[in-house]
Symmetry: C2
Subunit: 361 residues, 2 copies
């Protein structure tokens, strides 16, 4: 069986590493000549909306999936109906538009921050009047890792924000003074059965995930699972879906969902009975889902812009190294480390060491 993947970055790479033992083979479509999955899978080097390349991908593959949200609409249309395509494109279309995504959350009674669409400078004024300050003005489409958004704290911020983003369709959301950021990694098989990983608590910096720490027995696990399940069932979902959540006053608010494997689930490679990557593939193939039970106390730290020395990282007890085979560049995710420890105290000690290595400044 051959799995096609739109995108050949680190998520596709880790998917392939998880899938070879299942006897699968991989073919990725990615315009970058040095796409890091290309080291270990067939690589079709072409634009994502190149019709000939998409035909080549679809013809050779049993299932096609994707590792990023911003798959061009034309590519989806061309692929649909020619090859099994999971997760379902409907999920992708919701996640590509922050307004439609929030409307979906609303229909499913999943609480969200207050928000208003913004289509004009007057509309921005009205949205701020209704939602209040501080808030975040975001492009409805094509944002990721904090890109395409700006925080408004006072009325004087409206003009520069509009100047920066006014050319796009926008949404204005209340800025949530959250106690914690959580995410839930959920997976649903072709037969409708689903499974949920224990929620990690996530820390971001400049809009980029820095750290995920798994919280078995977290009191927010149950509501997080309920919200994720509503999405999975509504979308007749197949594969891994990630729902990002804010916790405020003991309640969860949905920030956004990603119809794919997710950085905040990388800990599952060594930290869970079955990794998110393997379970995503099992779902796509119609195979039984694997257990999501954590194996001890687990945390993950991203390596951003800079890859620490392998020897230094591996000298931290219980730490597993992941380099993505990508050149270093400021703000770029180039690897991560996962710590598996037998006690919370050991986890804390190794986590401090690993964070120092990851962020030497």
């Amino acid at each position: 069986m051959i799995i096609g993947i739109l995108g050949g970055g680190q998520l596709a790479r880790m998917m392939a590493l998880a899938g070879y033992p299942l006897g699968l083979r991989f073919r990725v479509l990615d315009p970058a000549p040095d796409a890091c999955t290309g080291h270990l899978a067939e690589h079709i080097q072409a634009e994502f909306d190149d019709p000939a390349a998409l035909r080549k991908l679809a013809r050779g593959c049993d299932v096609v999936t994707y590792e990023f949200e911003n798959v061009p609409a034309g590519a989806l249309e061309q692929l649909e109906g020619t090859v099994p395509l999971y997760p379902p494109p409907a999920a992708l279309r919701y996640s590509q538009d922050r307004l439609r995504e929030k409307e979906l959350f609303g229909r499913l009674d999943i609480p969200t921050p207050n928000h208003k669409p913004v289509d004009s400078r007057d509309g921005l004024e009205a949205a701020v009047a209704e939602v209040g300050l501080p808030g975040v003005l975001k492009t409805r489409r094509l944002g990721y890792d904090g890109k395409g958004q700006t925080v408004l704290r006072k009325n004087a911020d409206l003009d520069p924000a509009w100047e920066q983003l006014g050319a796009h369709a926008l949404i204005y959301e209340a800025l949530i003074p959250f106690e914690r950021e959580l995410s839930i990694i959920a997976v649903r098989g072709r037969n409708g059965k689903s499974a949920y990983y224990p929620v990690p608590e996530n820390s971001h910096c400049n809009g980029i995930l820095r750290e995920s720490r798994v919280c078995p027995g977290d009191p927010m696990q149950q509501p997080a699972e309920e919200y994720a399940q509503r999405l999975l069932d509504e979308l007749n979902y197949v594969g891994v879906l990630t729902l990002e959540l804010f916790q405020l006053n003991g309640q969860l608010l949905a920030n956004e969902f990603a119809p794919r494997v997710h950085n905040s689930g990388h800990w599952s490679i060594e930290g869970a009975e079955t990794s998110q990557f393997e379970n995503h593939l099992r779902a796509l193939m119609g195979l039984p889902l694997g257990k999501t039970t954590p194996l001890g106390h687990i945390a993950m730290v991203n390596f951003i812009g800079h890859l620490p020395g392998t020897a230094e990282v591996l000298a931290c007890a219980g730490t597993h190294f992941h380099g993505y085979g990508k050149p270093e560049r400021a703000g770029r995710k180039v690897g991560h480390g996962t710590i598996r420890a037998s006690t919370v105290e050991k986890l804390q000690t190794e986590l401090e060491r690993l964070k120092k290595l990851a962020m030497p400044e």
Copy 2:
């Protein structure tokens, strides 16, 4: 960093899967056009002693290793001195010759079954007279998985055995009525530090490993480690070394060693804190070795000649599937399954299920 591997079968494949997260890349030399590591690494398709191919391998790689014992002497000679080559070729040369291997065991006070070299029909007579019956007549070189050997139970077996094997240099060994077959997977880094996995108990059928079951706290662990350490230190070893042992009357006898990752260590992929494949690579690269602690109760079952259905295998709780991407053929290792269970009872239940799937007859 690029690692070159002589051989592109399942051992090289699992090495590559373990090494990509370390940021390594892989290049294999293998004459088979469908060598299964070729799906996920650069493949130089040529004979193992092809000088041009060996030059190509050495030129592009930072370290070269191998996945099988029978590397031609000429290939070793060509590679030595042009590229770091681990484990050390001296270890390979001992393991290629059962007589020299046994002599090495003897020098290191590692007990072995009684044995005698056999160079003639008269010599066979003398060896049987000295060692006794039953015994095993083996070629000194190029044997694996029970090939190149035959059991002698009575004097009438000598003639047919000589007819079958007399063209080769031979060794005659006492057939050991062992209580158990064990192996120890040992690893030694460039700095001389070593680590040992918990010994598995192994079951063979027709000379091929069928099942390995890890025995944490086994009373034979300590003598097994001592014998392995003598080999590691004597050979100034770098990488994984496997020592196969018979247990008889509470004592260990060394059968043979393999200067490489080993089938009886495959359980370590999911079953140990660090797999044998990752630790082999860590040793080669001069990186700190990872912990060898087992994660629960672990067993591995080989899939020989026939790959059971992925869905059926994955339906066994805690079972991990490994298909090697090789066509099925009688007697060929085409995959394995590893069970990680929280109790001995659960392990036993799932092991019975998995063995039925592996051997449907």
